[in-house]
């Protein structure tokens, strides 16, 4: 199979999206656990989450910017279509992103009374839940082909507001995909947090139990999504034999591996398997949808920018990666390597 330049660009976007899901996605998942913090160690749970996210969330967030920018540079018509047809959910997602990021720093840097910090904590947590939910619903809307159909309807100029701007992303299928996204990211976060909490057995158990619960939920929702989506072309290819099926099968293996590893408290293995599970679901979707960028009709090649733009952008990406990868590695080594707690004079003592 030989790929066109446009297809290579599309795969690069998928890699960036993958990175966003594994890193940025887990930060959202952490927010969900802040929302659901409970039991005697509620405060410790929240503190571990805050410390895990603090130094890295802004860097993790940049992956989303890379996805957006790559999309509008390499596939301008697709970006324009997403912006037009998914205006409402994307705006909701943006509100979530704004509230999540700012409430998180407001909580860390406020000298105000505890009630004020709690209010920001709650804002942070709720927006961490809503943002991935809506993002998942947008993906569901694209996969189901509803966005593509609405695009045609918009050009014909006869369809109603609701059928173009609302119904494509509010369907049982897209809601199931949204819920699955939340469950998966929460699972990912809880699995990572078992390692962040390594110093405290009880806390580690808290996150282990949460990870197991989220894993079961995510599997159930994945099955619901498969059933609800069985009628549409992309999902059908997930089930029919082919590459996509193989990858989805692999994701099932990864899911079971991570659950088994959690049960046996092999947390490093659980983390790797959890990442693999989420990654394989993403790639399974993309393979099933390939070579379409907006099902049912618009292909990657038809939506692509001129070759010269694609080539020069990739050259810049290659050059940038030389700076970026060592820098990211350095960041993770400084904050995630040693397991010693992060002391930050940037954070006031809670009083």
């Amino acid at each position: 199979m030989s790929l066109t330049l446009a297809e290579v660009a599309a795969w690069i976007i998928v890699v960036a999206l993958n990175a966003y899901v594994l890193f940025g996605g887990a930060d959202f998942g952490g927010g969900v656990w802040d929302l659901l913090a409970s039991g005697p160690r509620r405060q410790q749970q929240r503190d571990v989450i805050a410390h895990a996210i603090g130094p890295i969330w802004e860097a993790n967030h940049v992956w989303l910017i890379v996805v957006v920018v790559m999309l509008f540079v390499c596939f301008p018509p697709a970006f324009a279509a997403f912006g037009t047809l998914l205006h409402i959910p994307l705006s909701l997602m943006l509100i979530g992103i704004v509230l999540r990021g700012s409430a998180f720093v407001f909580r860390s840097y406020s000298y105000g009374p505890r009630s004020e910090q709690r209010r920001w904590g709650r804002t942070f947590a709720i927006s961490s839940l809503i943002t991935p939910m809506v993002l998942g619903m947008c993906v569901g809307a694209v996969v189901s082909g509803h966005v593509g159909t609405a695009m045609t309807a918009l050009d014909s100029g006869t369809a109603s507001f609701a059928s173009i701007y609302v119904r494509p992303w509010i369907s049982p299928f897209s809601i199931a995909v949204g819920a699955m996204t939340v469950a998966l990211l929460s699972f990912l976060a809880a699995t990572y947090l078992t390692i962040e909490a390594a110093g405290d057995r009880a806390l580690q158990e808290d996150f282990r139990n949460r990870a197991l619960g989220a894993a079961v939920t995510a599997m159930a929702l994945a099955i619901v999504a498969l059933v609800l989506g069985a009628g549409n072309g992309v999902m059908a290819r997930l089930i029919r034999p082919g590459w996509a099926t193989l990858v989805i099968g692999g994701s099932g293996v990864a899911a079971l591996t991570s659950a088994a590893a959690l049960l046996q408290r092999r947390f490093q293995l659980a983390r790797v398997a959890a990442g693999a599970w989420v990654t394989l679901i993403l790639w399974g979707w993309v393979l099933a949808q390939f070579p379409l960028i907006i099902p049912p009709d618009l292909t990657i090649n038809a939506a692509a920018a001129p070759d010269r733009t694609l080539a020069e952008t990739m050259a810049v990406l290659a050059g940038g990666a030389v700076v970026l990868i060592p820098s990211l590695w350095y960041l993770l080594r400084v904050f995630k390597g040693s397991g010693q707690p992060i002391e930050s004079p940037g954070e006031p003592q809670r009083n």
Partner: protein, 445 residues
């Protein structure tokens, strides 16, 4: 396209989209400017601490970095909103321009990455990395902040002076992304913007500390802060009118309609006068109640008192930008720029004469002047962007694509406009409240 003709009729949606874009950019630019200027202040303070061992410098670096953490986060999220809004509000623009001006945005992506990564190291790494590594992280943040600003302003310069493609029947062909970056307005705009960021941050910080000194707090902390902030802000403020002159000459050549609007200059003439103040009467095509400096405009725009300056009469009426807004915004920017440059000259002169910053601290009249200019840098920046953006109307890409043809077909845009405005008002209020807490807790010794 049917969708496009449908919306051109519906003006309120277009207005809502323009207002939402203007509001989002006007909000983001405040944080972006701080993202460019504040790291430079922190790095200078930390470097002074390493050199002198004076703990007040370290305290200063840490204080500023706490402010930076809050402001950067809001900058990052409001910037994310903008990247999406390009598609949410202007799909027609992105469909046309995405592949041409994507290059600076891609480069900017890398600048954001290095900035966010090393900001994490800087804010949370005081006890985790060596002093040199920590200072280095700060320097990387400062440099990538400047680069982010430069890249995105290059994209904006392209909207003013498009280049790097050939138009064939309404489509852009033969796209050359790097040529698009090397457009005519790129140098003047990026220079002016970078200086504006240093002016804004430097003089605002200087003003805040001058106010503290005026209130009787003459601690080393505030004196050091004043010295560092003036070091960054004052030279930039003095250079800014010169760089503005470069911008004006570039506009005179490449965007005569904009120059004519910002000068409220209706008739093409040789030896054109420069208008100070005044109200442009668009229907009568004249500018009332202005102070006229004979030949001033010809001199400024072309450095020749007799040069011909094109007036709005050379531009078809339906391609005039809103003249009054542009003219007034321009006057505001010039007035604020002049005041800031004068105060900066005064401060640097006093400092140089007295050899130490104590000479500035002892001069209450000067301190009052510095306190007076506190908000001016940011106001000038907002005014300047109004000139640039409103002055480009009715074009989103000068001479190529009209704003009205670029807007989304989605109706009811006033709703997202109001929601985002409320969100940002709330956010702005909280940021001010939190920063006040930080400042109030500054040391008094």
């Amino acid at each position: 396209m049917a969708a496009v003709s449908k919306i051109t009729a519906a003006m309120p949606d277009l207005l809502a989209a323009r207002s939402q874009m203007a509001m989002s950019l006007g909000f983001h630019i405040v944080f972006a400017v701080v993202g460019i200027g504040l790291p430079a202040l922190m790095v200078i303070a930390e470097w002074r601490w390493i050199r002198t061992g004076d703990g007040a410098y370290l305290e200063l670096a840490k204080r500023w970095s706490k402010g930076a953490a809050i402001l950067f986060a809001v900058g990052a999220v409001s910037g994310t909103v903008l990247s999406f809004e390009l598609g949410l509000l202007w799909p027609g623009f992105m469909r046309f321009a995405g592949s041409i001006i994507g290059m600076p945005f891609s480069l900017e992506g890398f600048a954001f990455f290095t900035e966010a990564i090393f900001l994490g190291v800087y804010l949370y790494g005081w006890n985790r990395v060596s002093r040199t590594a920590h200072l280095f992280a700060g320097i990387v943040v400062a440099v990538s902040g400047v680069l982010s600003g430069i890249f995105v302003v290059i994209a904006n310069a392209w909207m003013n002076t498009p280049a790097g493609f050939t138009m064939v029947g309404g489509d852009a062909v033969d796209v050359r992304p790097f040529m698009a970056m090397a457009n005519a307005a790129a140098f003047p705009e990026t220079l002016h913007m970078t200086l504006a960021a240093y002016t804004g941050t430097g003089l605002t910080v200087a003003g805040i500390h001058a106010i503290a000194v005026l209130r009787g707090n003459k601690s080393v902390f505030h004196r050091h802060a004043l010295a560092i902030a003036l070091t960054l802000g004052a030279p930039a403020a003095i250079l800014q009118p010169l760089s503005g002159d470069v911008s004006a000459r570039s506009a005179a050549v490449h965007q005569p309609a904009k120059l004519a609007a910002l000068e409220a200059h209706f008739e093409t003439q040789r030896g054109a006068p420069f208008h100070i103040g005044g109200w442009p009467d668009v229907d009568e095509r004249e500018t009332r109640w202005a102070i006229r400096i004979p030949r001033g405009l010809s001199l400024l725009a072309f450095h020749d008192p007799n040069a011909e300056v094109k007036g709005l009469d050379t531009v078809p009426r339906d391609q005039w930008p809103p003249v009054a807004i542009v003219h007034i915004a321009f006057q505001v920017m010039i007035a604020l720029g002049t005041i800031m440059a004068l105060v900066s000259v005064w401060a640097l002169w006093r400092w140089w004469r007295g050899r130490t910053i104590d000479a500035v601290v002892a001069d209450r009249r000067l301190l009052r002047a510095i306190a007076f200019v506190t908000p001016m840098g940011f106001l000038a920046i907002e005014a300047g962007w109004t000139v640039t953006e409103v002055g480009r109307q009715p074009w989103i890409i000068h001479g190529v694509l009209r704003t009205a043809d670029a807007v989304t077909p989605m109706p009811g845009l006033v709703v997202p406009f109001l929601i985002f405005t409320l969100l940002y008002l709330l956010l702005g209020a909280i940021v001010v409240y939190l920063l006040r807490q930080q400042i109030v807790r500054a040391p008094t010794q």
